[in-house]
């Protein structure tokens, strides 16, 4: 160990050490000379005698250096220097190689760091392996629980070593008018304790704070490190300051550590408040009450030391009947209740946290990871080809070195070192690309959808992308693998050079040697891989295009969505419906507004879909137990006009449809098809499942065209019913806390209306919380996943094409340069330029066709894995496949044509003179 330190010290102070040694030897010589002179020799003779007696100074120094730095290590150092110098000598080739490797390695690292933070990383809390999530046991989706269930779990501490419940939400920091949202967390009192998250500053909240209406300190809040830095510049005085969240004043008591982002992977929080304060915030719409039907809580537990998942699940199922019985929701049809009682409570491991983003992006991410791995493979084959060509050009150098006594291993080492230097440079550049690229991607995934209601969130995606050991290990592994992949073949080949070759003429005249064979194989592989990537890009681009072009059933342009939230105002709940209608009247007078209408939901929302169960449709076949849900929208008059939804039959909802007049409903065409076998629904009546006394039958007075109401545009349009907003009684009050006002501009960008619309609504009631967003961007946001996939696969497809083109060009021009003499002779014998061109191109076209066939078959096989990501086309879409093949053929033709053209211009006189 001491010796290693000494050696390192030597490496650092090498100059100093050598200077010391030289001085010492010089001193030695001087002494010797003096001694000889004293013995009677003349100075000159003494100098020579000294030299004779003491031998070579250089040898002494060399040997001394060997003591400190073993020979083999010096060799490596030399190799690195030599490699760098060789690579710098052919700057263009090296730049191309490093760039393509950087893109390949960078893309891989970026995608892996996303995969890592989303799928692999454990939560930054104490013993994350002990954490489990409570689930319904009905599939991969995360289960959400009502407050009642949590209220039943809380008094049963013997089940686990602590349990926590939380809900993600957003808080409005403003006190009126346009909203300023931050990411919020409503968590129970033991949340930070059980997870094991210590305060960074101040304290975290406890069960004492988690009391209905706040503890003895009043409502308290814990803020995240990021929020603390952004809002308070990291000032310690932030503790004790107050925050207004949804019009309620909270006192800040603490800051969480920088790496803690909550227990949901894919998002972060700015402010966390105790669950007990929820009624303060949501007031009459509160859901944190034992009888509330809303299921918004995620429940996580910590296993006791030594407790297995199975034992904990068994214990939980032991108390399941009591929990289920005590929390039976009201007003649901019997089959729903049955299922509620039967679904078995299940615990699932949760070391990596809870994540909706994970479920959504797992498959797309893995797909892109495969794509970037293929790109890296192509880059590797390209670099291998470049190195092969160069190694062949350097045959002479190698054989001379062999003749001078370099071992085969030494030559191989030299070439591998060049590969390692290339790969290393590529990795360094790749890491830069990766950190930039993965952040760009996360930004791209973040959307600002307008969600409505008390359970809305901000949809900001947050992923911890800091380098950890997994990413580092991955990158280093990729680097070594690539260096071996592209470096081994050229190195092995070069090491087989015989010393004799140096003496022979080193240029053979005909094609067809092994190097060309290997290079051709690489080109075929490249073409095949690129074809796969181009096919993937084509499939995703078509999917995106058909989603964008999908007929939505309404006119998406020119509409501004305004979410109006009355939940935080003093408006009497029974007056809310009237208030929205008054806001609509006010907005209609704004210049530039063509139409405006109120609805409980806009088309294409990102929040969970609420289905309204139907009890009966008169005149239709009996409803199946599991197929009686219908999408529900509460609308004001003018809604269909605003969105340009076509009327098929009957009449629109009018101002005359209000409480006291006979209840009416408008349905869509799918409704008629599903529930009435396609018969005209006009005149039929429907009955809904609603809490309270049995509701009266509602008459269908109109039929409209289908319009998309979904979180994703790929979901099919389901049966939809439109009920007049003005006909809703108290039963419906929970639905009316917030509404969407859709404003159609009479021309020009809808976003420009924001100010005037805000002013018009404020004139009606200044307390209303307003959120604005153009419908078009809302729809764009719902296509995020498809856009990102199309963008990435398109980018990498193009990259693959470029690399394949470069590879083809390189191999063709190399082939031509080897056959210069042969071609020259042919031209001298009268071959015409087009014959020569055909000669060159025919060879390349064989390679391209072979690559296309192999790649096509591989694509046919592999495309099945992305079937679920496609929309509007089959994975075996023939048009995409043919297009991709044509594109590749064109790139191949272009890449091969230049060298072929040059070959046809070879001057036979020049070539033959050289021989």
């Amino acid at each position: 160990m001491r010796q290693i330190m000494c050696r390192v010290w030597y490496a650092i102070r090498q100059r100093r050490f050598e200077a010391d040694l030289a001085e010492e030897i010089e001193f030695h010589r001087a002494m010797k000379r003096q001694e000889l002179e004293e013995g009677g020799l003349k100075p000159i003779e003494a100098t020579f005698a000294t030299r004779r007696a003491l031998g070579s100074t250089a040898l002494a120094q060399d040997r001394s250096r060997d003591v400190w730095c073993p020979l083999w290590l010096q060799g490596v150092g030399q190799d690195v220097l030599l490699a760098v110098r060789t690579l710098l000598a052919s700057r263009i080739v090296s730049t191309v190689a490093v760039l393509s490797l950087a893109l390949g390695i960078g893309a891989n690292t970026a995608m892996f760091s996303l995969v890592n933070s989303l799928l692999l990383r454990t939560l930054p809390v104490r013993d994350p392996q002990q954490l489990v999530l409570m689930s319904n046991g009905t599939g991969p989706r995360v289960s959400y629980w009502s407050y009642g269930v949590w209220d039943q779990l809380r008094p049963r501490p013997q089940l686990f070593d602590g349990a926590v419940a939380w809900s993600v939400t957003r808080f409005d920091l403003s006190s009126g008018g346009e909203t300023r949202f931050v990411d919020g967390l409503l968590a129970n009192g033991t949340f930070f304790d059980v997870l094991g998250v210590p305060p960074w500053l101040g304290r975290t909240f406890t069960t004492a704070d988690d009391q209905p209406g706040g503890g003895s300190n009043g409502p308290v809040a814990v803020i995240s490190y990021g929020f603390w830095q952004r809002h308070f510049d990291g000032a310690r005085e932030a503790i004790g300051r107050t925050l207004t969240l949804d019009r309620v004043t909270f006192t800040i008591v603490g800051v969480t550590p920088p790496d803690f982002f909550g227990a949901d992977v894919g998002r972060t929080f700015d402010v966390a408040v105790p669950l007990g304060d929820e009624p303060l915030i949501h007031d009459r719409n509160s859901w944190a009450l034992p009888r509330s039907p809303s299921t918004l809580l995620t429940v996580m537990a910590r296993l006791k030391p030594g407790q297995t998942l199975e034992a904990a699940t068994a214990a939980l199922r032991g108390v399941q009947p009591q929990i289920r019985d005590a929390t039976l929701p009201e007003g649901l049809p019997p089959q729903f209740l049955d299922r509620y009682l039967k679904d078995a409570l299940t615990l699932v491991p949760a070391a990596t946290g809870n994540s909706n983003l994970r479920l959504q992006y797992q498959r797309p991410l893995v797909t892109i990871l495969v794509v970037v791995a293929l790109v890296l493979l192509i880059a590797c084959t390209n670099v291998a080809n470049l190195l092969l060509a160069r190694a062949t050009a350097r045959r002479h150098e190698f054989s001379v070195r062999r003749a001078l006594g370099a071992s085969r291993w030494r030559l191989m080492r030299q070439l591998l070192m060049e590969s390692a230097v290339l790969a290393g440079a590529g990795t360094v550049a790749g890491l830069l690309i990766a950190s930039w690229g993965s952040q760009l991607l996360v930004r791209e995934l973040s959307t600002q959808n307008v969600d409505a209601g008390p359970n809305a969130t901000t949809n900001t995606v947050f992923l911890d992308l800091s380098l950890d050991w997994r990413v580092l290990a991955f990158t280093i592994g990729v680097t070594i693998a690539t260096a071996l992949l592209f470096g081994l073949a050229p190195a092995l080949r070069a090491s087989r050079v015989a010393p004799m070759d140096a003496l022979k003429e080193h240029r053979r005249g005909t094609a067809g040697d092994a190097r060309v064979g290997l290079a051709s194989g690489l080109v075929v592989a490249q073409v095949a891989l690129s074809l796969m990537l181009v096919v993937a890009a084509g499939l995703f681009a078509r999917t995106f295009a058909s989603l964008t072009a999908r007929h939505l059933g309404f006119d998406r342009e020119g509409i501004l969505l305004v979410t109006i939230d009355t939940g935080r105002t003093n408006v009497d709940p029974t007056w809310r419906a009237a208030l929205y209608l008054r806001a609509r009247e006010a907005v209609l007078t704004v210049p530039g507004v063509a139409h405006a209408a109120v609805s409980s939901r806009p088309p294409v929302v990102s929040g969970p879909m609420l289905g309204q169960p139907l009890q009966e449709v008169s005149g239709g076949p009996p409803l199946p137990p599991n197929g009686r849900l219908s999408t529900l929208n509460l609308v004001s008059p003018g809604w269909f006009e605003t969105f340009g939804i076509a009327f098929v039959a009957g009449r629109d909802i009018t101002d005359r449809d209000r409480l006291g007049t006979p209840p009416v409903v408008v349905v869509n065409e799918t409704f008629a098809r599903v529930f009435l076998n396609g018969a005209s629904p006009l005149g039929h009546t429907i009955k809904l499942f609603l809490p309270g006394p049995p509701p009266p039958p509602i008459e269908i007075v109109g039929v409209v065209g289908d319009a998309v109401y979904a979180r994703s545009l790929r979901e099919p349009i389901g049966p939809t019913i439109y009920l007049p907003l003005a006909q809703r009684d108290e039963v419906w009050l929970p639905f009316l806390a917030s509404m969407n006002l859709s404003v159609r501009s009479s021309g020009g960008s809808p976003a420009l209306l924001t100010k005037r619309v805000a002013a018009a609504i404020a004139a009606v009631n200044p307390e209303l919380a307003l959120t604005f967003r153009p419908l078009a961007s809302q729809i764009d946001a719902s296509l995020t996943q498809d856009r990102v996939l199309a963008m990435l696969s398109g980018f990498f497809g193009a990259l693959a094409l470029l690399l394949a083109g470069l590879g083809l060009y390189g191999v063709t021009s190399y082939g031509v340069s080897r056959r210069r003499r042969e071609i020259g002779v042919r031209i001298a014998l009268g071959a015409e330029p087009r014959h020569v061109q055909r000669l060159v191109l025919s060879r390349v076209s064989v390679l391209v066709v072979l690559g296309v066939i192999i790649g096509g078959m591989a694509s046919l096989w592999a495309s099945r894995f992305v079937a679920t990501l496609l929309y509007g086309l089959e994975p075996h879409d023939p048009a995409t496949l043919i297009e991709a093949a044509v594109v590749l053929a064109m790139v191949g033709a272009l890449a091969a044509w230049l060298p072929a053209w040059r070959a046809s211009r070879i001057d036979p006189a020049v070539v033959l003179r050289y021989e």
Binding site: R2, Q3, C6, R7, D20, L21, E23, E24, I25, F27, H28, A30, M31, K32, Q34, E35, R52, A53, L54, G55, S56, T57, L59, A60, Q61, R63, S64, D66, V67, W68
Partner: protein, 111 residues
């Protein structure tokens, strides 16, 4: 002839001789060479190309310590001293060497 001497030494003996020479106190490289030659009546002439690598080796192993100082004719010279580890090593090598010589003697003196 300078380069030949080292070859004639048994492998490893140079280290031993240097260590032994340094028992008398701090000495610079020239001094060590001079001393070896004097004591051996001119038989052991050590060249720079073996002396200095050997000294570096001993330094690396921590058996000797080096320090710059002024020489007898007032030039800057590097003085080597024996370290505690070096003293221990000397005893070990001395023993080994004695055994070796004894063995060689035995072989040579057997018929």
């Amino acid at each position: 002839m300078g380069t030949r001497d080292a070859l004639e030494l048994l492998p490893g003996t140079l280290d031993l001789l240097i260590l032994q020479t340094l028992v008398r106190g701090a000495m610079h490289g020239y001094g060590i060479a001079h001393q070896l030659k004097d004591v051996s009546n001119g038989v052991l002439q050590v060249g720079e190309s073996s002396l200095y690598p050997a000294l570096q080796r001993l330094l690396l192993k921590g058996w000797v310590k080096a320090q710059w100082g002024a020489s007898e004719n007032n030039r800057r010279a590097r003085y080597y001293t024996l370290s505690a580890a070096g003293r221990k090593q000397l005893a070990v090598e001395r023993q080994e060497f004695d055994r070796l010589i004894l063995a060689i003697h035995k072989v040579l003196n057997t018929a």
